[in-house]
């Protein structure tokens, strides 16, 4: 380790610094999207978000749930990005009451599960092994 040149050594510490106190979109491994202000972080990308809202997207509409302070364990972070407020307003998305969005989300999930079941049944008929493994792809 004696030949490491620490001058030009990027660290997570430096790379997240410009995002401090900015409005961010954080995407988590389970697919959740959080919008909040980054107040603290460390080298694992553990995050502290303030005034967080969770935004649920279904097709061309979305709904918000107010969450408050969030501490996110780094391993669950997929990406974080700065949100351009103007571009956000230009979006062709419709905000719906959260109850309606949750209902739509549930319907979408049910439909997906139903299709997956049919697919597995068909594969099974063809003689494929269809052990059900729940995976989040990570």
């Amino acid at each position: 380790m004696n030949n490491l040149n620490l001058e030009n050594f990027f660290t997570t510490g430096q790379s997240l610094q410009p995002y401090l106190d900015k409005d961010l979109l954080v995407v988590l491994r389970d697919g959740r999207k959080l919008l909040g202000i980054l107040r603290s972080y460390d080298q694992f990308a553990n995050l502290v978000l303030q005034d967080t809202i969770e935004r649920i997207y279904v097709n061309n509409s979305f709904g918000d749930i107010e969450r408050g302070i969030y501490i996110v364990r780094g391993e669950n972070v997929v990406l974080l990005g700065e949100v351009d407020k103007d571009a956000e307003d230009d979006l062709d998305l419709q905000e719906l009451p959260i109850e309606q969005i949750l209902q739509m989300q549930k319907e979408e999930a049910d439909e997906k599960a139903r299709k997956e079941k049919i697919r597995l049944q068909l594969l099974h008929k063809q003689g494929f092994s269809v052990d059900f493994v729940e995976t989040d792809m990570y």
Binding site: R29, K33, A45, Y57, N60, V77, L80, G81, E82, L91
Partner: protein
């Protein structure tokens, strides 16, 4: 540290990062750190309609652990140099292991 050094030579170039959730993001590489976390600017998401939440995002930080592939421009890779560096690093490690044994 080889890949970290390698990615550092690609800073400022156009790359496409494919994540394990199939999201693919194209943009200019800004920085990379020792975990291969990357920052990219002027991003454009491939198949944007499927990811409406990404449209207002202009630059982002991607955690190294969720990356599946990074596509890089072939002309920006100095292959002989990379080969040499690989062998040099392997040799160094061998050398260090011998010292540790002695």
């Amino acid at each position: 540290m080889l890949f970290y050094s390698f990615f550092k030579t690609l800073v400022g170039k156009q790359v496409t990062v494919e994540l394990k959730n199939d999201l693919a993001i194209q943009g200019t590489l800004i920085s990379v750190d020792q975990f291969l976390n990357i920052k990219i600017d002027k991003i454009k998401v491939i198949d944007e309609e499927r990811y409406p939440h990404m449209i207002p995002v202009k630059n982002c930080f991607i955690r190294g652990s969720v990356v599946r592939y990074i596509q890089i421009p072939p002309e920006e890779v100095d292959k002989p140099l990379l080969q040499d560096a690989t062998r040099r690093e392997a040799q160094q490690q061998q050398h260090q292991a011998q010292i540790a044994k002695a």
